[in-house]
Amino acid sequence: MMNTSYGRGQNRKTLGWYAGRIALHGALISLGIIFMLPFAWSISTSLKPFGDLFSPNPKFLPSHIVWDNYRTVFEKSNFERFYLNSIIVSVGRTVGQVAIASVAAFAFSNLRFRGRDVIFFILLAGLMVPDQVLIVPRFIIMREFGWFDTYQGLIVPLIFSSFGAFMLRQYFLGIPKDFQEAATIEGANPFQVFWQIYLPLARPALAAFGFLAFLSSWNEFLWGLTVTNSSDMRVIPVGLALLQGQYFTNNAVLLAAANLATIPLLIAFVFFQKHLVEGITLGGLK
């Protein structure tokens, strides 16, 4: 089999094969450029002086580079506070989700108890219900708790991830049972087995889920918009959506803010790429 495919490959490397490859790369590169243009345009616009914005024939490059738009974002809005809030809220949700989901995932995958599979199934069924059905009662619960417009209100309702429990359970199921049996014979209780053996082994899955959790928290909009109303409690997406009015008719400033909101995460992704893609396919297909 190897021989035949090797032979075929050799035969195909004719002029036609090269032409095909060049056409393919040509198509991919053109499409790739189209996909990157919005980012490029957003970055170049954010560096343009105000006058450049009103040219009926906009140039890609700024007439001269100005950094003032970035300064204006911080001076004329509460943006550093939005940033701080987003970091606090996203870290809080991520740590909460990973901790709660991983502990539960271990129990669902490795411990036997009555009702286990029924409970797991109900948790999964919950994934099908869209947030907007739950938004009003959650909003009311937050008011009853006195958590409206607080960090608890932003964080706590979103730390219970059935999706995370599902994804990590699938990963734990792939870890050979021998590890657990060896440890229990040495007298470790289930939590110790989880903490000392399974958690270290599941590091790639935890990293993937952690990144996904952070990403979705960072970008989350509907709940952040609903549960806060003071400018001091806004997270970045909400702040960015509401940045309007007298100071923000300048689109270069708006795009500077959009870039500040997005770019740190894109850079982080380039480093975490491999884990994240694995995590998405693991969560998506199983």
Partner: protein, 320 residues
């Protein structure tokens, strides 16, 4: 490790865990040990309690609220099915639903086709494939609100690059986001840009699961590249296509953040979608009961569409 055992005071039970032959058998014949079970309940407790409060109670409450009239700050008042009756005659909601479907249906088709073409191209042993994959995936990670901001400027009627480009070609330059028709096209383009990379990744993992032998067998039978694509790749990829179309429809029926930013001019939205309308009723007009009933109607619509897809899949999805 006797120390660890005495800390938890579970010496007696622990012996039943450690020695498998000693397991107590339940009447059903399944073996659980009391200690393991207790640990199990303890370890799922945080998730289950949170789920109970923020999901089960919220869901039940939401159902009850949908039968009330509740305009904050007044108290809720039971009105039976009046909200649902009103929804039937709510022209604005019907418009919002029409907008939502006008976005969702073309979007899902374009996503599935474009992502499949890209996935097939990138599945071959092509150079720079990881780089290409990264390029198409970055928009998926971009905050939808930021995406909306960026594209709103790209679509700017007077000074945006898209209309400048159309002007150079001598084509009409519409005021994209001001009218439902062109706004729908604009939103579809943006959502396609921001979601095709996700489908691509899932397709690629589906393609990698197709055994090489199938292609070799097709080649031995003299199949051309197109024939083996049609007769091997597509049928074996149908479970992936099905999965993507189910979650794609569910997701695009719930479009919110992007339209919130892109198509809201001053305070009116030129292209309200279903979720936008629900949010607007609940939190701008403060009609909590009515908004909840609307959300339930949307949930039922989503479930019906999902169900239809599951019924139709028997005709076209091949499971190995």
């Amino acid at each position: 490790m006797p120390a660890a055992l005495s800390i938890h005071g579970l010496e007696a039970e622990m012996t039943t865990v450690t020695i498998p032959t000693d397991r107590t058998r339940s009447r059903r014949g399944r073996s659980y040990t009391a200690t393991t079970a207790r640990w199990g309940y303890l370890m799922i407790a945080p998730l289950v309690i949170g789920f109970a409060i923020f999901f089960l109670i919220a869901l039940g409450w939401s159902f009850v609220l949908s039968f009330t009239e509740w305009t904050l700050p007044k108290s809720p008042e039971w009105i039976g099915i009046q909200n649902y009756r009103d929804i039937l005659h709510d022209g604005a909601f019907r418009t919002a639903l029409r907008n939502t479907f006008a976005i969702a249906v073309p979007l899902i088709i374009l996503r599935l086709v474009l992502a499949l073409l890209l996935a097939v191209a990138l599945n071959s042993k092509i150079r720079f494939r990881n780089f290409y994959r990264l390029v198409f995936f970055l928009p998926v990670l971009t905050m939808p609100v930021a995406t909306g901001r960026i594209w709103k400027w790209l679509f700017d009627p007077g000074f945006g690059p898209i209309n400048a480009f159309l002007r150079q070609l001598g084509l009409p330059q519409p005021d994209w986001l001001l009218y439902p028709g062109t706004a729908t096209i604009a939103v579809i383009i943006v959502l396609l840009w921001s979601s095709v990379g996700y489908d691509l990744i899932i397709y690629l993992s589906g393609l990698q699961a197709i055994p090489r032998d199938y292609y070799d067998a097709a080649a031995v039978d003299g199949a051309s590249g197109w024939q083996s694509f049609r007769d091997v790749t597509i049928p074996l990829l149908t479970p992936t296509i099905f999965f993507l179309s189910v979650i794609g429809i569910i997701g695009s029926l719930q479009v919110f953040d992007l339209v919130y930013v892109m198509t809201r001019v001053d305070t009116t939205n030129r292209l309200p979608t279903a979720v936008y309308y629900i949010y607007d009723k609940g939190f701008a007009d403060r009609q909590m009961g009515y908004a909840t009933a609307l959300a339930w109607v949307l949930l039922v619509i989503i479930l019906i569409f999902t169900l239809i897809q599951f019924i139709l899949q028997r005709r076209w999805v091949h499971y190995a």
